[in-house]
């Protein structure tokens, strides 16, 4: 079985928002709900970097762990989905998520706590595949059509890659080999303490990536 993953190669992202636009159009997402968003850090300054963020479909998803009504489920492909008929719109998943993925539409009588909406990896929901009900609640089920998420398919620079984790890893590994340097993915410095080490004067050679 495949284990679906997104990977964002921050060396390539040009903040064009093509992924955001593709997602909204493919899944017919209303104004104000953003399943995917491009975050730019240090905008306009040297070292500016952009990353495209959506639900990362965690293996041990915190949203699923904290949901009081247990509306989340994980597909055989490792995609984290939820059932909007069970969801009570409490927003607890939003607290738990490290990426700000859960979105809450502003329609309905009580303002901004509608049923939660998030990236489905273009895999729909519990309704029958590609049914009208599924499209209305969750958007397109591209995986059932044998296609990958449109955000990644549309990415002009192929900064955003989606698919089976093994294949995604192969593509990224090849890129890193071409570039001749490791550790250029976003978050590397944070994970391995580059910034702190530089601050302590321990490691002056580390690139200024993050």
């Amino acid at each position: 079985m495949a284990r679906m993953k997104f990977l964002l190669d921050a060396k390539r992202c040009i903040e064009c928002n093509g992924c955001v636009t593709a997602c909204k159009n493919e899944n017919n997402i209303p104004w104000g709900v953003n399943r995917r968003r491009v975050v730019t850090i240090d905008d306009g300054s040297p070292g500016e970097r952009s990353i495209s963020v959506a639900c990362m479909h965690c293996s041990d998803a915190p949203c699923k762990a904290v949901c009081p009504v247990d509306c989340f489920y994980v597909t055989d492909d490792g995609v984290v989905l939820h059932d909007k008929d069970i969801c009570i719109g409490c927003g607890y998943c939003f607290f738990a998520c490290p990426f700000g993925a859960p979105q809450f539409p502003k329609d309905g009588a009580f303002g901004d706590r509608g049923k939660m909406d998030k990236c489905t990896f273009c895999a729909g929901g519990p309704e029958p595949d590609n049914s009208a009900a599924e499209y209305q609640k969750y958007g397109r089920n591209r995986l059932a059509e044998g296609k990958l998420p449109l955000c990644a398919e549309m990415c002009a620079t192929k900064a955003l890659i989606a698919g089976d984790g093994d294949t995604v890893a192969d593509i990224y590994r090849e890129r890193v080999a071409y570039r001749g340097a490791a550790g250029l993915s976003w978050g590397w410095g944070t994970a391995y303490g580059g910034r702190q080490r530089r601050a302590r004067g321990v490691d002056n050679k580390t690139s200024s990536q993050d």
């Binding site: 903040e15 064009c16 928002n17 955001v20 636009t21 909204k24 159009n25 104004w31 104000g32 905008d43 306009g44 300054s45 040297p46």
Partner: protein, 529 residues
């Protein structure tokens, strides 16, 4: 036909009187001066009295308040576009405005050219919605009303008022010899469309299959007739390939010598050229001198006699030149001194509205011109006045990735509009603090003289802009000098996002060769709204 044009003479061309139909017309950047300038000072019979905006938005042009006045002075204003555009709302006319809905690219088909010189064939996705018509149909109907519909479509089949698009492509194939826009027949373009998968992504060359050896889009020059099967020219002036395979030399565009200096190539030539040196543009006489005239067929000879590579309608001169490895347009040197321009080599000339008065005497602009594209054009008389005391900041403009051009189409797209919801000015934190402006405040940006005042949101930046410079995007429209014009759009056609057009505040200034409007340098002052 000629009798219907103005027969008077207002300008001298090469020392002789020239009729208006033989002189350069008023460029789009200056149409407002065609309307507003004193009739006695323009080089044509009358002021401009009607404007047809066809796929053009006014907010990409400068001098907003004067443009509004010009729009209101016209007898007739027509907008042909899929969207009403800012042209429909920025004036306060009560009558004489017509909005004609044009079909989008998805509602028609045919050949389209990109700025990389390549052409491709596209299909119709949906039938035109509502009352909209494709451009070619609108053009034919307009020509017919003006009395030359038959001449326009002499060689073009017309079905229910729609000229056959294949015939339109064939029509330009027949005539555009100078840039090699001749080999891309509808049949060749359609064949490429069916064989997309055979083209290499990097080189754009088809490897095998029905289009083997062709470059995608048959980028011009695609020499000769379609029967010649020229593959197109993927990179200009690439002498490492034979001309027949997409190679090229520099064009001998400017004669063979200038001030006694040879302009032709010196000892270099494209691969496989039988002339191993520079050579001029090909003519019938040149073929005869080279002994290549006999390579022409009897039919080609008939049309090529006395002609050159760009006037020979048979394409024979081009075919024979290429057969011998030569470029039909000659083999010359690149020209870096353009002796026909006001500055043969580009030099710095200080902006008309400048905060660096110390540079004006060292790098003065041009003298005012009496008649330039039929209009008086000001340079030195504007630069002479110092505005920098009252308007200390440099104002510049540019693009956003989410929107395109005047933005009427992209601001009407919910997915894109959501990403950029406010017209803004990017300001350095030093200037912002000096003016008491915070991030997200609404501010007035005001410019001198003909420039207007616009109300926009402040975006404060540490490093994005240098102190003393503000930047604005030019894609917004629908607000005018603080006024929201949303109610003036026809019902249901207003874009999701409206905002001030930065060009409302941009001032006078036109390029000394092309008359392109000055949208990059002016002066302004800012204050909290």
């Amino acid at each position: 036909m000629a009798a219907r044009f103005d027969q008077e003479s207002y300008e001298q061309v090469k020392g002789k009187p020239a009729k208006p139909m033989n002189t350069k017309g008023i460029p789009v950047s200056r149409w407002i001066d065609g309307v507003l300038e004193d009739k006695a000072k323009i080089a044509q019979k009358d002021n401009v009295r009607a404007m047809v905006f066809w796929g053009h938005v006014p907010n990409s042009q400068t001098r907003g308040p004067e443009m509004k006045t010009a729009m209101e002075k016209l007898d007739l204003l027509v907008v042909i576009d899929p969207y009403p555009t800012v042209s429909a709302v920025m004036h306060d006319r009560k009558d004489g405005v017509y909005l004609l809905p044009a079909a989008t690219q998805f509602e028609t088909y045919g050949s389209v050219t990109a700025s990389n010189r390549s052409l491709q064939w596209r299909d119709k996705v949906i039938e035109p919605l509502f009352e909209s018509l494709p451009d070619q149909t609108i053009m034919y109907k307009l020509a017919r009303k003006l009395g030359f519909g038959e001449q326009l479509c002499k060689h073009i089949k017309v079905n229910n008022d729609e000229p056959l698009i294949e015939d339109i492509t064939r029509e330009f194939n027949k005539g555009m010899w100078t840039i090699g826009y001749t080999g891309q027949s509808p049949e060749r373009l359609k064949l490429q469309q069916k064989n997309w998968h055979t083209f290499d992504f990097t080189s754009l060359e088809a490897k095998g299959g029905a289009c083997n050896g062709e470059y995608y889009g048959l980028p011009w020059p695609c020499w000769g007739t379609a029967d010649m099967k020229h593959p197109g020219t993927p990179n200009l002036y690439d002498m490492s390939k034979p001309v027949a395979k997409g190679g090229l030399t520099f064009r001998a565009r400017f004669g063979v010598e200038h001030n006694g200096v040879n302009l032709l190539a010196d000892g270099v030539y494209s691969k496989g050229s039988e002339i191993k040196d520079g050579y001029p543009e090909f003519t019938a006489d040149m073929l005869k001198k080279l002994g290549w005239w006999t390579d022409l067929t009897a039919e080609e000879k008939q049309l090529a006699e006395g002609k050159n590579w760009k006037t020979d309608r048979s394409g024979g001169i081009q075919r024979v030149a290429i057969k011998h490895g030569c470029a039909p347009f000659g083999n010359a040197r690149a020209r870096s001194v353009v002796w026909t321009f006001p500055d043969p080599v580009p030099i710095h000339r200080e902006a008309l509205y400048t905060s660096r008065r110390d540079l004006v005497s060292k790098y003065p602009t041009y003298a005012d011109r009496k008649s330039f594209y039929r209009l008086p054009t000001r340079y030195a008389s504007i630069q002479a006045k110092d505005y920098s005391k009252d308007y200390p900041l440099i104002m510049t403009s540019g693009r956003l990735v989410e929107y395109e051009g005047g933005g009427d189409e992209t601001r009407s797209n919910p997915w894109l509009a959501e990403l950029q919801q406010h017209m803004f000015a990017e300001i350095n934190i030093v200037d912002a603090n000096n003016a008491g402006i915070k991030h997200g405040d609404m501010i007035w940006v005001e410019s001198p003289e003909e420039g207007g005042r616009i109300k926009v949101m402040a975006k404060i930046t540490q490093e994005g802009m240098a102190p003393g410079v503000i930047w604005m995007p030019f894609h917004f429209g629908g607000h005018f000098q603080g006024r929201d014009l949303r109610s003036k759009y026809p019902t249901g056609s207003d874009p999701y996002i409206l905002g001030e057009a930065c060009n409302t505040a941009f001032t006078y200034g036109y390029d000394s060769v092309t008359q392109m409007q000055e949208t990059k340098v002016s002066l302004c002052r800012i204050s909290r709204a």
